[in-house]
Each structure stands twice: as C-alpha cells, then as structure tokens.
C-alpha cells in the first residue's frame, strides 16, 4: 500500500540518484546499526588494534633501564626511492592559531604535524613511538627521561637540529610569560638539560609514569630556538614545508626534500583545505579532496558504501561527559546521582549519537582504548527509569527540572536530545540550552552551569582527565567533586611506578565513579576517516586518535 507521498518520494529518490535503480541505501544502513548496537562483538580489526596496544604498552612500561626502540624505524630507508608525485588534499576546518603553544584544533595540530616534528609520537594504538628522538630511556626511579636525537634532522632553513632547539621548545611551553594553556602539563618538570648537542634530559620533581605522554602532547613540537613569529613563519624539521598559507581558505605544502627520514614523504605536496564538514564530504565524494578525517557519523556511514573510498574507524579515549555539579542541590545528594544513572540508557545514546560506532562508556573517563586500565565490570546501576523515579521521590525531588547546557557541536546535541527523552521517563524535565561552543568554553561558563555536557578530546593517558576534572583541586573540576579518597586514588594512579598498583587504582576509580560519580559517559568517540582509493597508505589507512596527528608521509598516489 502506497500513499501519494510515497510516490513523490520514490521520484525524489530516483531524481537524486540520477534515475538509476539501486538497493535502498537506508536498509543497508539500518542493518549496520542493528549490528553495532545490539551485539557487542568486537570486530577483528578492532581486536587486533587492542592487542597491539597492549603489547606496546607492555614494551614501554618495562621498568628495565634499557632503551626502548620503535620497530617502524627499520622500515625507513629500505623502500626504493621513487619520484614524489601527487598532492594529497585533506579537508579540515579553518585554522586560527598556528603558534604551537596555543594551537588546539585538529586542523591546527595537523598543520603543526606537517611542518614540525615531535620528539616522540603516539601510534594509533596509544603506543609511544620515536620521531626526532631516535631512542629514550627512563631512569630507575622514574624521574629522569633521557632522549637521543636523530643526528641528521635539519630545519627548513637549513639549520641542523640540536638539543638547544628542544630545550627552547619545551621551555617556551613552560614559560608563564608565553601563557600557553599547556603550562600545567609540565608542572612536575624540575628541569630540562642538554648534556650534549644530541641529548636532552628531562628531570621530574616526583615520579610520573605518564610523563612520556606529556612529551607527545599536541603542542610539544620542536621549533627552532629563538623562533617567536609562529603565525607567519613556519620553520620546522617536519616532512612538509609551507608554500603558502591563505587564511580561512587553504594551506599549500610541498615535500621537504631534505627531510631527515629520507624518502619521506612520498607525496610531492599536501594541501589542507579549510571547509565545513558537509562541504568537505561532498568535495571528497566529488574527487575534490583526497582525505577527510572528521565528520558526522551519519555522513561516515554513508561514505562506507562509496566504492571510490576507503574508510577506517578506530576507537579513542575522547568522550562526551554529562556532568552534574556536586556542590549544590540536587547534585549533592548521592541518591539523585544514582537515580540519574538509572534513568540513563547508555547503549541507546551510543546508538543514537554515535550510530553505534563509539565504544561503550561506563561513566568514567577510562574506556576500552586504555585496555589495561579499563574495567568492563564496574558496578553501574542497571537501567530502570521507574526505579529512578522512586529514588528521586525518596530523595525529595519528585519533579526534578534541569537546564542542560550543551555546546552546539559534534554529537553533543544528539546526546542531549536523547537524554531529555530518557529522563522524561523517570519524571525528570530537561530544558536543553544549546550554546555556541566558542562562547561556552571561552567565557568559562561551562564550569559554572549546574548540568552540562562537556566534550573531552582524545588523550593518550587517562590521567589527564582525572587530574584536570575529577581531583578536588583540578583545574577544570567542573563537577566540584571533592572526595579525598578519590583524590588519593588519582594521585596514586598518576605517580606510582608499580604497574599493578596503577591498574588497581584506575579500576578503583572506575568503580567509584560508576557507583556514585557526577558523570555519565555513555560512549567514547570513534575516530573516523575516509580517503579516496587513488591514494595508498603504507601500512594501511590509519587515523590517529586525535585526527590532527595523522601524518600523510607514507601516502602514495596510485
């Protein structure tokens, strides 16, 4: 039976599809969603990536004082040299600040990643890999990190890289006068020294097993000693040189012929185009772009069906956290916090907001990405809206009403929309206030609101989330949680050199947060990417947890 509207639609389908008959796409898509949301099966590829991460982690955190050596260094130089061809075109949102001390968005970091080098890098599986530091060593007490620099790195202006540049780069990030928001990353750093031109030593005040991740931070690129003018002069040691930067339009890069990793990059150049994600996807489909790494999930699902594209998803530690302030009613009542957890169906939220592409969250910022630390059995209250309603009534809040503040970006509004619906079943009224993201974070309003959704980007270690937002003295303690026991656990997790002790601490933290935390974290973002098949990626098409860190040095035009 078919209404007139259905006929009109049929025509519209046909029209849009240029009149070709085809299998209705949405059915495929629905099937896919069903798979993702109903079964928790871990895909093969995902399984592999998880175990790789575990292996890398094991390698890295060996307490033995031997040098860690990355395996992929061996690949370098073995490949036969071929002429560099092609310009790989990548779609990004517009860049604003190109000063490493301030850069934050994917596109800005992508720019830095192309122009500069990190001392050490992270892999897609959260392992630390060498870059300008060809090797490094952690002292017995865990307070000294010694990095050996590659000998043949040169800046784009020809000056060879020395330890002095590394010192300058890190000291600049630590300098209060510069005012980098990353300054606190290095609070624990006592001093940096350079025993010789190719050796850098970081000395910590106290033990900090995750300190290596601070070295891999997005901002921690190595700049030329003395450089200050980062918005107009782009001199790094990286694989690409900036040929031309056209604000709010594009950046043209050319391959750095003198790159110290000889043979890289394979492409003759790279182009970053700054456009919004819809336009970027259309450009990708139309062959105007080669790679798009960040996009709405629905667009990604649709792209998976495009025969011209290769797609990839990886889990990350990035997530959206719904959080309630605990220093005021009703958030100060544990029953309320529990009731809210009970009123929330996380799977459904994941299915709606992430189309099942995300990995499930358990109300703590530690997800499956951190395979060692993740506790899949933390005691979450079961989904029970009626129970939640009863519990609220018991707590004296039978008609709870919240103003929920939500940045207007990503899947956060979708999250909010579903929460509104779910909580309504428990008798809770939610008024959604979508706020412009720049305003929301810019004015620090996000720290003040009672109920808000905060997006947290991917980080290589769970410790940062805990230090910043869940310690009573955390810089961004948005929920105003003040639990001495939790604080102690966080400190222990962040400082202990005993691996087992750390794992135990992380699991204890997860348990606490699941039972009585101020957060609801229903999912961890996937990182997604799509590239045209004209480009081949050595080692497969991969995307970093923070997509901006993805390098395209090993992309080759077919």
């Amino acid at each position: 039976m078919r209404s007139t509207a259905a006929y009109v639609l049929q025509y519209w389908f046909f029209y849009l599809k240029g009149g070709r008959a085809h299998t209705p796409l949405h059915e495929q898509f629905l099937r896919q969603i069903a798979m993702c949301s109903s079964s928790r099966k871990i895909s093969r590829r995902r399984f592999l990536s998880l175990s790789a991460a575990a292996a890398a982690g094991a390698l890295l955190y060996k307490t033995s004082p031997t040098f860690a050596q990355a395996s992929d260094r061996s690949a370098q130089g073995l490949r036969p040299q071929t002429a560099r061809t092609g310009v790989i075109r990548v779609g990004w949102e517009a860049v604003k600040r190109l000063d490493p001390a301030f850069a934050s968005s994917d596109s800005e970091i992508a720019f830095l990643t192309a122009v500069y080098d990190y001392l050490v890098d992270v892999t897609t599986t959260d392992a630390v890999s060498p870059r300008l530091a060809e090797s490094w060593r952690v002292s017995e007490d865990g307070r000294q990190y010694t990095f050996k620099l590659v000998p043949n790195a040169k800046f784009h202006d020809g000056k060879p890289l020395t330890a002095e540049d590394v010192l300058y780069s890190f000291n600049r990030l630590r300098d209060p006068a510069v005012g980098s928001p990353k300054i606190s990353l290095f609070d624990n750093l006592e001093q940096i020294s350079a025993p010789d031109d190719l050796t850098v030593v970081f000395t910590l005040k106290t033990t900090e097993p995750d300190f290596i991740y601070s070295i891999t931070d997005n901002s921690a690129v190595i700049v030329r000693a003395g450089a200050t003018n980062f918005e107009t002069e782009f001199i790094g040691t990286g694989p690409f040189k900036v040929e031309r930067y056209i604000p709010e339009d594009r950046t043209l890069f050319v391959a750095n012929e003198d790159y110290w990793q000889s043979g890289l990059p394979y492409a003759a150049g790279m182009e970053h185009r700054y456009l919004d994600s819809n336009a970027a996807i259309e450009a990708l489909r139309g062959g105007e772009l080669d790679v798009v790494l960040r996009m709405p999930n629905a667009r990604f699902v649709a792209l998976q069906n495009d025969p011209n594209l290769q797609t990839v998803t990886f889990p990350t530690s990035g997530h959206d956290a719904l959080r309630l302030r605990m220093d005021m009613p009703p958030g100060n009542d544990p029953r309320v916090r529990k009731a809210l957890k009970m009123a929330t169906n996380r799977e459904e939220i994941n299915a709606f907001a992430q189309l099942g592409l995300g990995s499930p969250g358990r109300d703590a910022p530690i997800g499956a990405y951190f395979a060692d630390y993740f506790d899949p059995d933390s005691p979450l209250p079961p989904y029970d809206p009626d129970g939640a309603r009863a519990l609220l009534a018991e707590a004296g809040y039978p008609d709870l009403t919240f103003d929920l503040f939500v940045p207007n970006t990503g899947t956060r509004p979708d999250f909010a929309v579903v929460i509104k619906d779910q909580w309504a079943k428990a008798g809770i009224t939610v008024n959604i206030n979508l706020v412009d993201e720049a305003t929301y974070y810019g004015d620090d309003g996000w720290l003040e609101v009672q109920l808000g959704i905060t997006g947290w980007g991917a980080r290589p270690s769970p410790q940062q989330y805990l230090d910043f937002s869940l310690k009573s003295d955390g810089k961004w303690n948005e929920s105003r949680i003040a639990d001495p026991e939790l604080d102690a656990l966080i400190v222990k997790a962040g400082t202990s050199v005993d691996r087992a002790e750390r794992i135990a601490a992380y699991k204890a933290i997860q348990r606490k947060l699941a039972e009585d935390g101020p957060l609801i974290i229903p999912y961890f973002f996937p990182t997604v990417g799509a590239a045209r098949k004209e480009w081949q990626f050595e080692g497969g098409f991969t995307v970093q947890a923070f997509p901006g860190r993805t390098t395209f040095t090993r992309a080759r035009q077919a």
Binding site: W12, L30, A298, A351, F352, V417
Partner: protein
Amino acid sequence: MRATARQRQTQPLQIVRLSMARRGRLLRRLWHDAPLSSIGALGVIGFLLLALIGPYLTPYNPTANSLSERNQPPSLAHPFGTDNFGRDILSRIIYGGRNIFALTGSATLIAVGLGLVIGLYVGYLGGWLDQIVMRLADALLALPSLLLTLVLLGALGNSRFTVLVAIVILYVPIVTRVVRSVVLDVKTKAYIEAAEIGGESRFHILFREIMPAVLPTLAVEGALRFSYAIFLVASLGFLGLGVARPEPDWGLMVSEARDWYALSPHILFFPSAAIVVLVVCVNLMADGLRRLLEYSEAD
C-alpha cells in the same frame, strides 16, 4: 525631484470598505481570474490551521525519540517517515509550522506594526525628523539582511528572541519606507486637509483618516515580509543559528538532514518541501491580495 529609482513610490491602493456582497463578488472574481492566488491563500490558511490544530491531530511527540523507528521511509503510520531520531517528520513539520507562525509571524507583525506607526508619524510630520529617520532606514537597508542578522545574533546571543529582534530591526525600516510613501501621497489628499481644518487631533488624522489607506498596501507588504522572514529563519536554522535543537524548525531540519540525505533522502525532502510550499503560498497570497486591491480600486 525625489523620484530616485529605489524609492519606488508605492501608490496607495484604494480599497474601500466593502459590503459583504461586494466582498463576495470580488472573491469570486479573484477565483475566476487568478485561481492560483486563491489556492495560495487557501494554502496559507491551511498551514495556519495545521499549526493551530495540527498538534491535536498528530499522535506523535515531535521531540520523542524512538530507536526502533529511525529513518523510516514514508508509510501509513508516518506519512512523511521518521528522522534519524525516529521522530515523526510530519509532526515535526506541523510543530515547526507553529514555530514559523509564532516566531516569524509575530516578528513580522511587530515589524509591520512598528513600521506602520513610525511611517505614519514621519510621513505625516515630515521635516527633520523624517530626514533623520529615513537616513537611518537607508543605513539599515544598506546592510545585507543576513549579515546584519548574523551580527545581531552574535551581539545579542543566539536565541529565538534575538531572531525576533533581528527580523524586527531588519523589517521596520522597509515597512516604514513603504508606509511613508503611501502617507506622503495620502496626506496631500483633500480629505486629510479637511480633517485638519476641522480641528481634528493628530492622533485622529493619523490613525483614523490616514491609516485605513495604508492598511491594504501594508497587507501586501506584510505578506511578502512574512515570506522573506520564513526564508531568513530557515537560512539561519541552516547555518545552525536561531532556533536550537531539538526544536522542530524547518531550516534546522534541513540542516540536520544534510548528514542523512545519502541514507534517507526523505528527511531532507519534506522540510525543504514545506519551506518551498509555504513560501510559494505566501507569495501567491500576496499576489492575490494585490489583485483584490486593484479590483476594488477599479470597481
């Protein structure tokens, strides 16, 4: 000589208060001469009725999500299908229509009302005040409407109220200009002078003697403004400004559906079609209004 091109003199349309029979005759004539205009007017009334009583007819909550029913193509249960949250698109369009009429309609009404009063006063009084107000109006009109709205949205915050204020600020100068041009014409008419020498108060002259002559033109202008406002709000919604999610706003629905059209084109189609149909209907209605006024003028 003030007949610059842009200041197109709007002739006052001589609609005369009519007896019911004459009104009926004119409507029949309109139906006969311009059935499309009549259909447009009926369409607008239809949309209005739908917005008023539609919510009582639809069984769905426009913001209620349903995982099991997402992205369904049109069916009997969901004539326009469901969107990516499993929300009934027809319901959302109906509620969105409410938004259109409530926000856009009231903004247009306020702008038309303010423009009417300002236009009456400056047109009738003339002089310095008139010059200043008209220069100011020129300046506002020189701002491309969407840019002005964006700046205002930035300045006053992104809320429905701001959209309302923006539309009012945008349209008051335009309406003022139109009203003023009619007033300039009417105020030289002998009956206005007769009222003046009859010792009538300014209020009486403005609102009892002049205003009726302005109203017909204003009705046409108001209808056009309304259709432009629908466009503007839709464009804002599309740019992610104005009405916030999950409110059912047509422009917002189009914008959101952009992620989905490859998978479920109907999510994009229906709100787009709703915008197009309503705007076309409003334009047709404005055309019909103009014709009616011409008739009564010629009659």
